[in-house]
């Protein structure tokens, strides 16, 4: 059995860990509120953008000459996967959930004999993926310097993706991120952004629009913007998810530390009592033998 002194030290150390996790939980809670707010504020933009594109693609007359970003290159040989993770750890299953989702997708693609290219956003994803898929990672981006997700960063990623698409480096692009549902639940998502998945809501509006300049030109200008917008949306969802996940992970850690302190305290009290009893017995039996 551990000595009284050891137990005392352990209790002190668990308590200080608890203090740290508690502080982290509180910080995450404050950040979560902000991240959630900006995720909500960002929604109208991407929704409107989607609407406009939907209206446009419904209105387009000849589908065969539609921009490649919309209709794809006509083949599915090379897949590009953009895996978006956080730059910091200690956020529960946040990163590993995305990685798990991404890995199962990678396995599927490789099984089908297709080529795979990976872009990682966020250093944690890169750390976990480079062990197995190191040779597949073509780019690693991290925005450690920027405090909050901002459109400028998303635009950079978007532009890079488009550049590679135009250079014919891949046919299909999918982004992986965590969708924020609530503090406890974040759903890892795989969203295909090139070619655009038209989940045909044909009924959206029968109204005809006037276009200036013509549809094709608007579409070819709009689609690259939409890529950045989708990536930005993913970044916002991700940062809200990260904070939510961290908050619940730290909450759990704080609770576990509390339980551990309780257990150790009981053990400490018991062994202290045992030592006292032992001493008493020794004294009494010593007195009796006289």
């Amino acid at each position: 059995m551990a000595s009284l002194d050891d137990l005392k030290k352990r209790i002190a150390s668990v308590k200080s860990t608890q203090k740290i996790t508690k502080a982290m939980k509180m910080v995450a809670a404050a950040k979560l509120r902000r991240a959630q707010e900006s995720a909500e504020k960002g929604r109208p933009y991407s929704e409107k953008m989607n609407n406009v594109i939907l209206n446009l693609s419904n209105g387009i007359s000849d589908k065969e000459n539609a921009p490649k970003l919309l209709s794809g290159t006509g083949q599915e040989k090379t897949h590009l996967c953009v895996v978006m993770t956080s730059d910091r750890g200690l956020c529960g299953g946040f990163n590993s959930n995305i990685i798990k989702k991404a890995k199962s997708y990678f396995a599927k693609i490789l099984d089908e004999g297709k080529e795979l290219k990976i872009i990682t956003v966020g250093s944690k994803g890169n750390d976990q993926l480079k062990r197995v898929y190191g040779d597949k990672i073509i780019e690693n981006i991290s925005f450690k310097e920027s405090k909050n997700a901002n459109y400028f960063d998303a635009d950079k990623v978007g532009k890079m993706v488009i550049e590679k698409f135009e250079a014919g480096e891949f046919d299909v692009c999918t982004i992986f991120y965590n969708q924020f549902k609530n503090v406890i639940t974040q759903i890892p998502q795989a969203q295909q952004i090139i070619p655009l998945n038209n989940e045909a809501e044909e009924n959206s509006s029968e109204e005809s629009y006037e276009f200036e300049p013509d549809e094709d030109e608007i579409l070819s200008n709009l689609l690259p913007k939409n890529i950045s917008t989708q990536i930005f949306k993913a970044m916002l969802e991700n940062s809200a998810s990260e904070q939510g996940s961290r908050m619940s992970a730290m909450d759990n850690a704080t609770r576990n530390a509390g339980e551990m302190v309780d257990k150790l305290t009981i053990e400490y009290n018991r062994s202290r009592q045992a030592a006292i009893t032992k001493e008493l017995i020794e004294i009494i039996s010593g007195a009796e033998s006289l």
């Binding site: 991407s46 409107k48 953008m49 459109y151 998303a154 629009y209 006037e210 200036e212 300049p213 709009l222």
Partner: protein, 130 residues
């Protein structure tokens, strides 16, 4: 009958401006300035660098935009843009900063004609603000 309609400007970060007592909006559309009044036909167009003028009873407002998309439908005008500044908040230093950035962009040699044209537009518009 009122002659007013609703305008909404959103940028990626947030809903920038919502106004529902607007009588006229002038936007710098790609093929020239375009004034939009109530009951305009449904239209989608995109913007080049310029000034958005919003005229309403509560006063006129001017915004500088660098790009964006306008959609008008059922007397709802939505403007999606990634860069927008209220001219009322624009001071000299900010304007000079933007101007410098735009000039640098315009002087690049490795850009294509369209981005060159857009950058030139930016410079032009920003200069007129003086």
């Amino acid at each position: 009958m009122s002659e007013e309609f609703k305008v909404e400007i959103v940028n990626p970060e947030k809903s920038f401006l919502v106004k529902d007592d607007v009588s006229e909006v002038v936007v710098p559309a790609f093929e020239g300035e375009m004034g939009i009044l109530k009951d305009h036909i449904s239209i989608i167009s995109f913007l080049k660098p310029g000034i958005i003028k919003i005229l309403s009873k509560s006063g006129d407002e001017n915004y500088y935009v660098e790009d964006g998309i306008v959609e008008f439908k059922n007397n709802n005008l939505s403007i999606l843009t990634s860069t927008i500044f209220n001219l009322a908040d624009m001071d000299k230093s900010k304007q000079q900063g933007l101007l410098k950035q735009a000039e640098e962009e315009a002087n690049k040699t490795d850009i294509n004609d369209q981005s060159k044209y857009l950058a030139d537009q930016k410079v032009e518009v920003l200069k007129t603000l003086n």
